[in-house]
Symmetry: C2
Subunit: 333 residues, 2 copies
């Protein structure tokens, strides 16, 4: 292969091998209606010239980009990258390229992402981002971009979703706990602006406490686990027990560590329950009791659903994934 001056086009390949554009096109697309002989001849010049077709031009001509748009929140959480990983795995398998968009915490930004998704001409989209509301999704699908939404119940014509089941499990575990232990005042750790899942589980938490006529507390914590660790070191100077429900496991880990480092026993004095469990849950000591969902699998599943949607073969538009409660070392039961 030579060192190229400019991008080689199909036209040059055609000229160099003495055939027409159409024939070259047939060769690169592995279509029939080409003699073995011409095919080889053309293939040879393709190799010689180092010709690579322009995906752009192909996409424009066929109206298919074999690209899907993926929207994720900017936050660098492990579970988010696990989802992305699962999507990437299947995308690769199916020959799709991923266009990655990330959103910060602003409506403004979410709108600009919607716009980008539409202009970018993707064949489909997977949206895992709490900033985007149903109307935004509808806008996307109205442009004929089939979309799978993760962690938000949205249904529509060219639209499916994957939703998580945390609330039910949390309610169960929590009410059981409150039943068994009449003394504790459970504490929910609230993180500002942290999306739907947190909001939903917080609501579930509160409703259980209210139904059972129990006192509870909601404590604001920082989204960074190192900050939360420091805050709880302070906290444990004044308190020597507690039952905490945290949103994700690295926050839970911070509390467990703060407790342990303050000389408190986990779970004897301090209990911590985490909602989203990842690798961290098994790495801390004690290990973290959590509600687990295989996030990589969520990504894989979403992509599979999108593939079906593209073929108009998606029957089950909503796929619900229940979390599994994993009792580990940070809670008594």
């Amino acid at each position: 292969m030579e060192n190229l001056k400019e991008r080689v086009t199909i036209y040059e390949v055609a000229k160099a091998s003495g055939v027409s554009l159409a024939t070259v096109s047939r060769v690169i697309n592995n279509q029939g209606n080409v003699t073995q002989k011409t095919r080889e001849k053309v293939q040879a010049t393709i190799n010689r010239l180092g010709y690579k077709p322009s995906g752009l031009a192909q996409a424009l001509a066929t109206n298919k980009s074999t690209t899907i748009g993926v929207v994720i929140p900017r936050a660098n959480y492990v579970y988010i990258s696990s989802v992305l990983n699962g999507i990437a795995e299947v995308a690769k398998e199916k020959g799709f390229i991923i266009s990655l968009f990330s959103t910060s915490h602003s409506k403004q930004d979410a709108i600009s992402v919607v716009k980008k998704i539409i202009t970018s001409h993707v064949d489909g989209a997977i949206i895992f981002d709490d900033e985007l509301e149903e109307e935004d999704i509808q806008q996307i699908t109205s442009y004929y971009v089939p979309t799978i939404v993760i962690n938000n119940k949205v249904e529509g014509d060219r639209c499916g979703c994957v939703v998580f089941g945390y609330e039910h499990n949390l309610k169960n575990i929590l009410s059981q706990k409150l039943e068994n232990d009449k003394e504790i005042t459970p504490v929910f750790l609230h993180v500002h602006d942290c999306g739907r899942l947190l909001a939903r589980t917080e609501k579930a938490f509160v409703s259980v406490c209210k139904e059972m006529n129990r006192e509870y507390a909601v404590l604001n914590v920082d989204d960074s686990s190192s900050r939360t660790y420091l805050d709880f070191k302070e906290y444990f100077k004044k308190h020597n027990s507690g039952y905490f429900v945290a949103y994700r496991d690295s926050i839970a880990a911070a509390i467990v560590n703060a407790a342990t480092d303050s000389g408190l026993k986990v779970p004897e004095q301090v209990e911590v329950l985490s909602l989203i469990g990842t690798k961290y849950a098994n790495i801390t000591r004690p290990t973290l009791s959590s509600f687990d969902i295989d996030m990589q699998d969520v990504g894989r599943r979403s992509m599979h659903m999108l593939m079906d949607l593209l073929k108009n073969e998606l029957e089950k538009k909503t796929y619900r994934i229940e979390s599994v409660y994993c009792k580990r070392g940070s809670t008594k039961e």
Copy 2:
């Protein structure tokens, strides 16, 4: 905005507002030479029709896609997603879209990724993947795709790189350790097929031991930390001490936990040193001594370098980032 039947094109906007394509084009590109009045008129129909320009067609016409290709390994490590995060942050800031490609551990696959990068017509690429050799990079740059390579020293015409400094630090710490402690036999934890960085640091490890005429061992471990944990639980049934150097911190964490859970004291009996340190390093107890590099910053920097490269303004083609040794709780000094 109406619900659309088909994609609205610039042509329809032109017709609907009684102007020519060119004028609409000028409006959407915010160019001059358009009366305020026509501009408003056109903008109004754009809004009414819900017109969004096709990025594809724009890219084809201008030969600029405002998209950059990012290649990362398939593995779901925290430090990889941190790099990606950093890239995404700057990409967003600069208005670039990311096309994400991931490679598995095979040369075959790496080649197909190179091909995809070229056909996908990206404006530039960032490659953080050990499967791609210098020749592959050269192929990419020969197609006029400016490229930044992370963790591999590559220089060339349209090419820059970000390299990590781990070896020097490791050599220092290790030789100091061997100096102070004449008894220990350091063990390097080798993971099969784990890329350049591991290979380089392993080499550094071995060379220090050889230079100092000391015994050493290289132990194969599995890439999964849960598997490694189990293996080391077995290991510590027969051994009650050791000085281990692990590639990344979740492997190191597995060993620390296996030791602790086997009743051994860390760092008194078992010492563990991790090369790549991430959040895990602070979350385990004891914390993990490691060599840290802010991987998100690596991503940001790479993207900035790429931006400069696109403008042909990249002066320093190689940017070296030194790791910082962070002595934490898993080693004595």
